[in-house]
């Protein structure tokens, strides 16, 4: 099937009324939770995952994807108007977006972030359409040793790109791998780490953990900080359309942000957050007036907002072509596909072209819906922001509880979620990132399978990872990335990526 026909197939599926409806629901909910601080896409997708069991797989995935990129749009609104990031990828938008709002230019800031998001989102979907099929071809050539090395490279990248300490990120990944071992061993059938508890035989579910760490943990953090102190920008917002000069200042940042965001989105651990931070740093360097950054430079809004949306699109590449999720959101999407009996990875394209193209094309449709939702409805989103937190957080908790219970109608999932809520809270306190742990939980079984299959192939020799060219390349890259900080440390230069980026004050 050539590209043109594939895209047409995608349109025919995504324009079915039922799928249009779920796409709309997805982007609407995505924007809503993007606007609301304290609940992000990971928690929302895990809450709604059980609700998709009754839908057709394609509608379910379309809705979940809509939540993700919808949240990227919504997050900017809160950043600009309240100076609190609606979700993590909008942290940098606070810097210049809020300054613009204070100077009475909230309208253009909101406008440019919506248009920038739209342009970047569309770019990412086009790039995804063009890049995914050839990559899936390549991925079909990879065997277990290559997968093992690729996942190792993924973890290394994840740790390298982490906000905080690389060591901490690697430690979290190790804990995730150990958690992935809980339950029945797939090859030998032994029970591991179950301590005789029947519920643990199936392992710890990803969804309750994700909900606990990202949903409950976030609520607990917010509860500790005094409740309900939030200043909303009150001035009337007029003139959403950016002026010609605004466009001139932001067109290049949007284009750079789109490209940068998309490719960073492909990397494991990359995705929207890293993309927006990097774009901000890049724009500041490219700008003729770097001193304006932080004072309300429109480029500082346009670039990162474009980048985080393009990143959200790029995230789908490793999932759709390799079956390897790049971040917790994609891990949940992978869970959703598996629950519906679909195997994400290179075969998805050939075995379920309807799912593959339907989802991708629904993103074009969703992007258009978002533009329509965001510009005229901005007033509604501002009103949503006025919902007081004391009223909001019990609802978030309740949804998490219902969501975790309904995965398998088991109260142990609720307990696991509550427990991981506390763990997530503590992790945030001691500045450990939860994302590597969650990803390792998903990738753990894959990694272990690949490792054991490779060793069976090679008769127990570890050299198998070093004699196959692809595998060697991946391992080599991972080794270089690991060695980088050590070399720099020896040279006495403390210039990690994170050092150049604006400090994160709001999380």
């Amino acid at each position: 099937m050539d590209l043109w026909n594939s895209v047409l197939l995608g349109f025919s599926i995504s324009l079915e009324p039922i799928n249009l409806f779920y796409c709309f629901m997805g982007v609407l909910m995505g924007t809503l939770i993007g606007v609301l601080p304290g609940i992000g896409p990971v928690a929302t997708i895990s809450i709604l995952l059980p609700a998709t069991f009754k839908m057709s797989p394609i509608s379910g995935i379309i809705m979940l994807a809509g939540i993700y990129y919808g949240a990227m749009y919504g997050g900017s609104t809160t950043s600009i108007l309240v100076n609190i990031p609606g979700e993590a990828a909008s942290v940098v938008t606070c810097l210049d977006g809020y300054q613009m709002a204070r100077k009475g230019r909230a309208g253009p800031a909101l406008g440019i972030s919506a248009f920038g998001s739209f342009i970047a989102g569309t770019f990412a979907v086009v790039a995804l359409t063009l890049l995914a099929p050839p990559l899936a071809e390549v991925a079909l050539q990879l065997g277990p040793p290559e997968y093992f090395s690729l996942v190792i490279l993924g973890f290394t990248l994840l740790a390298y790109l982490a906000h905080g300490s690389m060591i901490k990120a690697l430690m979290m990944a190790c804990i995730g791998l150990i958690m992935a071992c809980i339950g029945l061993d797939f090859i030998s059938g032994f029970e591991r780490f179950t301590y005789g508890i029947a519920t643990l035989e199936d392992g710890i579910g990803l969804v309750p953990v994700a909900m606990g760490v990202f949903g409950v943990g976030e609520v607990l953090i917010n509860l500790e900080e005094s409740i309900g102190k939030r200043e909303i920008f009150k001035a009337k917002i007029s003139n959403l359309l950016p002026s010609l000069k605004d466009w001139k200042d932001s067109l290049l940042p949007i284009i750079r942000g789109s490209v940068l965001g998309f490719f960073l989105g492909i990397l494991p651990g990359g995705g929207a957050v890293i993309a927006s931070f990097t774009s901000y740093a890049v724009e500041k360097r490219f700008s003729k007036h770097p001193e304006e950054f932080g004072q309300g430079a429109i480029a500082g809004v346009a670039g990162p907002e474009a980048a985080n949306n393009a990143g959200a699109g790029g995230n789908f590449i490793p999932l759709m072509t390799l079956g390897i999720p790049a971040n917790p959101v994609m891990a949940l999407m992978m869970g959703a596909l598996v629950i519906h009996g679909l195997q994400p990875g290179p075969l998805l394209l050939s075995q379920n072209p309807d799912i593959f193209w339907g989802v991708i094309v629904s993103m074009y449709v969703g992007n258009i819906m978002l533009l329509i939702l965001n510009l005229p409805l901005i007033g509604i989103w501002i009103r949503v922001l006025r919902i007081p937190y004391p009223f909001l957080f019990p609802l978030i908790l309740l949804f998490c509880l219902i969501g975790s219970y309904s995965i398998s109608n088991n109260k142990f999932d609720v307990l696991i979620m509550a427990l991981f809520g506390v763990i997530g809270y503590l992790l945030r306190k001691i500045r450990f990132e939860a994302a590597p742990m969650l990803l390792a939980m998903v990738l753990g079984p894959m990694l272990e399978d690949a490792l054991r299959q490779s060793l069976i192939m090679s008769g127990g020799s570890f050299t198998i990872f070093l004699v196959r060219p692809f595998s060697l390349t991946f391992i080599g890259l991972a080794a270089i990335l690991m060695a980088f900080p050590i070399i720099k440390w020896i040279l006495g230069k403390k210039t990690r990526l994170a050092a150049e980026l604006p400090k994160e004050d709001h999380t």
């Binding site: 690697l170 509860l223 219902i402 809520g421 500045r431 272990e448």
Partner: protein, 114 residues
């Protein structure tokens, strides 16, 4: 494999410990875990979630949810009593309608079968 991962983990924590010891810069300011903030909120909320997990199959969804919301709205959210009551009853009924009736999610009926 868990053994190897554990070994790596131990090595990493060792490196991390050495790093914090030898670093010239002051380490990242860690917020005090037990501080002047309202950390009791955190403990109470977490405890209420655990209690909910234990009670949901005994009391059933409607009753346990109502109790949980009463507690959270009143003691954590510090709302007025009429807001607390109307809020928890409304939210419980609406969520019951959405999840059980519309989305057909299986929610426990509990001992009292409601």
């Amino acid at each position: 494999m868990p053994v190897w991962v554990a070994v790596i983990l131990a090595l990493l924590s060792g490196v991390s410990w050495i790093e914090t010891r030898t670093r010239k810069l002051p380490p990242v300011q860690v917020q005090s875990t037990v501080g002047e903030r309202q950390w009791s909120n955190v403990i109470w909320t977490a405890a209420s979630l655990l209690a909910y997990g234990f009670l949901i199959e005994i009391l059933g969804f409607i009753l346990s949810t109502m109790f949980l919301l009463l507690f959270l709205f009143r003691f954590m959210g510090r709302q007025k009593w009429w807001v607390v009551f109307s809020g928890s009853v409304l939210v419980t009924l609406i969520s019951h309608a959405i999840f059980k009736l519309a989305l057909k999610v299986q929610l426990p009926a509990g001992l009292f079968n409601i």
